[in-house]
């Protein structure tokens, strides 16, 4: 039996898989290999009340917050490093309540959730968030989105019954690293510690973790080593941008993987947006270099320049001048009329489709609202494909080393 083709248009993939209030985890991180093409199509289709998850991938969240389509977000970081401390339209959306739920994680606690999700684990543990207020802050719990309903089914299929569980380590800290050692153990006299560089956990009065066992009594009321259990992330949809995807769905990421492998493989449905769809054989000659097995992929979309304005390593660099423009424009998110103007910008700039965007919209950004005036300006004045070609990466570096990056 021939395998059914998963290749489809971006329009079809978005209308089929992106659902209001179902968890959608978007790939990429900040300025790197962000899955931007699918958010652009979601803006074109104006799908409302989105529930977005990301591990520091602020760019797509920022796009859809600007377009006014977000309702719930589950995020670790909403900053635009170096250029704007906090992505302004997300910030205003949260402060004004236009984004109605905000679940907080750290990059590691979210990574642990996707790690558990990827491997089908019931939970994963890691020493993060413990002792901080992140542990206490549970918006979804307050909103009544956790637990089971009267039918005994999950209130929300993508939201676990608890943010985390903290318990006494049933293995009494045996798994903590550096690993406890005894130089007098009969199996290898003169045993030495792990080669780890961390000093403060390395030795306590000659015996690892004894002080901790006696002192750590918060959360459970008993002095014992603690373990934090994070439930898996099981998003309804993951969308991930890659350099190459085979015709059956085998996908290869080059450069930084960021959270994308775990996130992609934890989802119920996975849509791969690829710079280029290639024959499967091209990737199968070196299967060890592929990260996404074709069995997990539900749809493949070819989106050349689909990561723009972010970097797609070894292919093209980020377009720094676009953020220079946008951090001026997004200041309009301060008022309802300004937000409307910003949403109009987004619905206009994405064009009719990806080709219209790439050819006719890239580099033409202009925004005016009250005193706010912003215009995209790159040194050459190029727009469309002429501008995109200027961003082509140097093969030695994977980026454009001489890109003009004013701050």
């Amino acid at each position: 039996m021939a395998r059914a083709s998963k290749i489809m248009s971006i329009k079809e993939a978005v209308s089929k898989f992106v659902k209001p209030h179902r968890a959608w985890v978007v790939g990429g991180f900040g300025y790197t290999r962000t899955n931007a093409s699918i958010p652009r199509e979601v803006i074109r289709q104006n799908i409302p009340n989105l529930y977005l998850q990301t591990n520091a991938g602020a760019t797509p969240v920022m796009m859809m917050a600007g377009a006014g389509q977000l309702d719930w977000i589950e995020m670790t970081f909403i900053g635009l490093e170096t250029i704007q401390p906090v992505s302004y339209e997300i910030r205003k959306g949260l402060e004004d309540g236009n984004i109605s739920a905000y679940m907080l994680f750290s990059n590691y606690s979210w990574a642990l959730r996707t790690h558990a999700g990827r491997f089908g684990m019931q939970f994963a543990t890691g020493m993060t968030d413990i002792g901080s207020d992140l542990i206490e802050y549970d918006v979804f719990g307050k909103a009544g989105l956790r637990g089971k309903n009267e039918k005994g089914m999950w209130v929300h299929p993508d939201i676990p019954p608890a943010r985390q569980v903290i318990m006494d380590d049933p293995f009494d800290g045996w798994g903590l690293r550096p690993h406890q050692y005894d130089p007098e153990n009969k199996w290898s006299l003169g045993d030495t510690p792990d080669t780890t560089w961390n000093k403060t956990a390395a030795e306590e009065d000659g015996i690892f973790y004894e002080k901790l066992r006696k002192q750590a009594s918060k959360y459970t009321g008993k002095a014992a080593v603690k373990a934090v259990l994070y439930p898996p992330a099981i998003p309804y949809l993951a969308t991930t941008h890659v350099q190459r995807c085979g015709t059956e769905g085998t996908a290869r990421i080059e450069g930084l993987l960021v959270p994308d492998v775990e996130q992609s493989l934890s989802a119920k449905y996975l849509v791969i947006a690829a710079e280029k769809i290639v024959p499967e054989e091209e990737l199968r000659f070196r299967p060890s270099e592929n990260q996404i097995p074709m069995i997990h992929v539900d749809a493949i979309v070819e989106t050349p320049w689909g990561g723009y304005p972010t970097n797609v390593t070894y292919m093209y660099d980020y377009d720094w001048m676009w953020w220079k423009f946008y951090i001026q424009a997004n200041r309009s998110a301060d008022t309802p009329d300004g937000r409307k103007a910003l949403a109009e910008y987004w619905h206009n700039i994405v064009g009719k489709d990806e080709w219209d965007f790439l050819q006719n919209k890239v580099g033409t950004d202009k925004f005016e609202f009250g005193k706010i005036k912003a215009k995209y300006e790159c040194p050459s004045g190029a727009t469309g494909f002429a501008r995109l070609y200027e961003l082509i990466a140097d093969t030695k570096y994977g980026y454009k080393p001489d890109q003009y990056r004013p701050i």
Partner: protein, 345 residues
């Protein structure tokens, strides 16, 4: 005062730093340096606050330490340390980079520029798991919006509601927090799993409260005995360094001193300014509550050789070095000239 059972991380003292810096030579000629300064319109023998912070921070990194860093000042700090007195120091970045050697300054912890010549550039699980949770990170460099007496960072938000009654947007009020900050990102796990945290912040009274409104990150000991990070089950860390635009603070958990004490005051800054910009009672290492007239060491002044490297090798296009603190902007407005301090000697 009970001692916390931890092995101290040795942060070089002011005297040790002065000794190490004295013997460092960049190999960059004075003529080349002067030409660079002329071209970029910076005085060769004066430094800005940003330059002071980068240089002061770089000298406090323990020898050969691995440092989990964010963008901006921590990038300058570590690159400078590697190129000056700490060539064996190792950089870790949260997108998964281990031991990169930057040729072009990364603007994000996931900028591919930050992976140049790295040993590995894997995933975020690797950065926080394979490297950090396994114990291969000595310290972290972090920023934030609020910082308190026990070295806690708030990078999440400000609320009107009391603690544990945060309006969580879905609260029925229709409103979220009064002010939203970036959120943790990698800050929390870096604070939890590193031996020490070097925090860098602009020092204003409102940003240095007795206790932060939201504990995003435990960047030092968390609290006094009974409320410390070890009471909450964190098996390591607790040492904190705070480098503000006015001073440097430090705690000594291995000696049972969990709260942040004043280590040095920056050149041309008064102790009164430092005291006036902290809500808690600032003490020196001995526990004495400080008065403006007390004697406190001065943060070592940058040397010409350090400035040469910082300017010409680390950030030659002045992506970050061009930045001015709020105080510098106010000074310039008032005096009609930029804030600068002369290099000594």
């Amino acid at each position: 005062m009970s001692k916390n059972a931890i092995i101290p991380v040795h942060i070089p003292t002011v005297e040790e730093i002065e000794e190490r810096v004295r013997s460092f030579s960049s190999g960059i000629s004075d003529a080349d340096y002067e030409a660079y300064c002329k071209e970029n319109d910076v005085p060769p023998d004066e430094f800005t606050t940003m330059e002071l912070l980068a240089i002061a921070s770089s000298t406090m990194i323990p020898n050969g330490a691995s440092m989990f860093i964010g963008t901006g000042l921590p990038v300058l700090t570590m690159t400078l340390a590697q190129h000056t007195i700490n060539p064996d120091a190792i950089i870790v970045m949260e997108a998964g980079m281990l031991d990169p050697h930057f040729e072009h300054i990364p603007v994000s912890v996931a900028d591919i520029r930050g992976a140049y010549m790295a040993s590995t550039a894997l995933s975020m699980m690797d950065a926080f798991g394979t490297y950090e949770q396994r114990g291969y990170v000595t310290g972290g460099g972090l920023g934030g919006a609020e910082y308190d007496e026990y070295g806690n960072i708030n990078a999440t938000g400000l609320w009107e509601a009391p603690r544990n009654q945060w309006t969580s947007i879905a609260s029925g009020t229709g409103k979220g927090p009064n002010v939203v900050f970036t959120g943790s990102g990698g800050s929390n796990p870096i604070g939890a799993q590193s031996d020490f945290i070097l925090s860098v912040m602009v020092q204003e009274k409102r940003r240095f409260p007795y206790s932060v409104q939201f504990k995003t990150t435990l960047a030092a000991a968390r609290g006094p005995e009974g409320e410390s990070r070890w009471d909450y089950g964190i098996p390591r860390g607790g040492k904190g360094l705070m480098v503000s635009d006015l001073c440097i603070m430090e705690n000594f958990p291995e000696e049972g001193i969990n709260d942040m004490r004043l280590r040095s005051v920056h050149p041309d800054v008064s102790l009164k300014d430092v005291i006036d910009n902290v809500m808690w009672e600032l003490k020196d290492k001995s526990g004495k509550v400080l008065k403006p007239t007390d004697d406190i060491p001065t943060t070592p002044t940058p040397s010409h050789e350090q400035l040469k490297v910082l300017r010409m090798i680390v950030d030659p296009t002045r992506i970050y070095l061009k930045r001015k603190t709020v105080r510098e902007v106010a000074y310039e407005k008032e005096h009609g000239k930029p804030w600068r301090v002369k290099v000594k000697g």
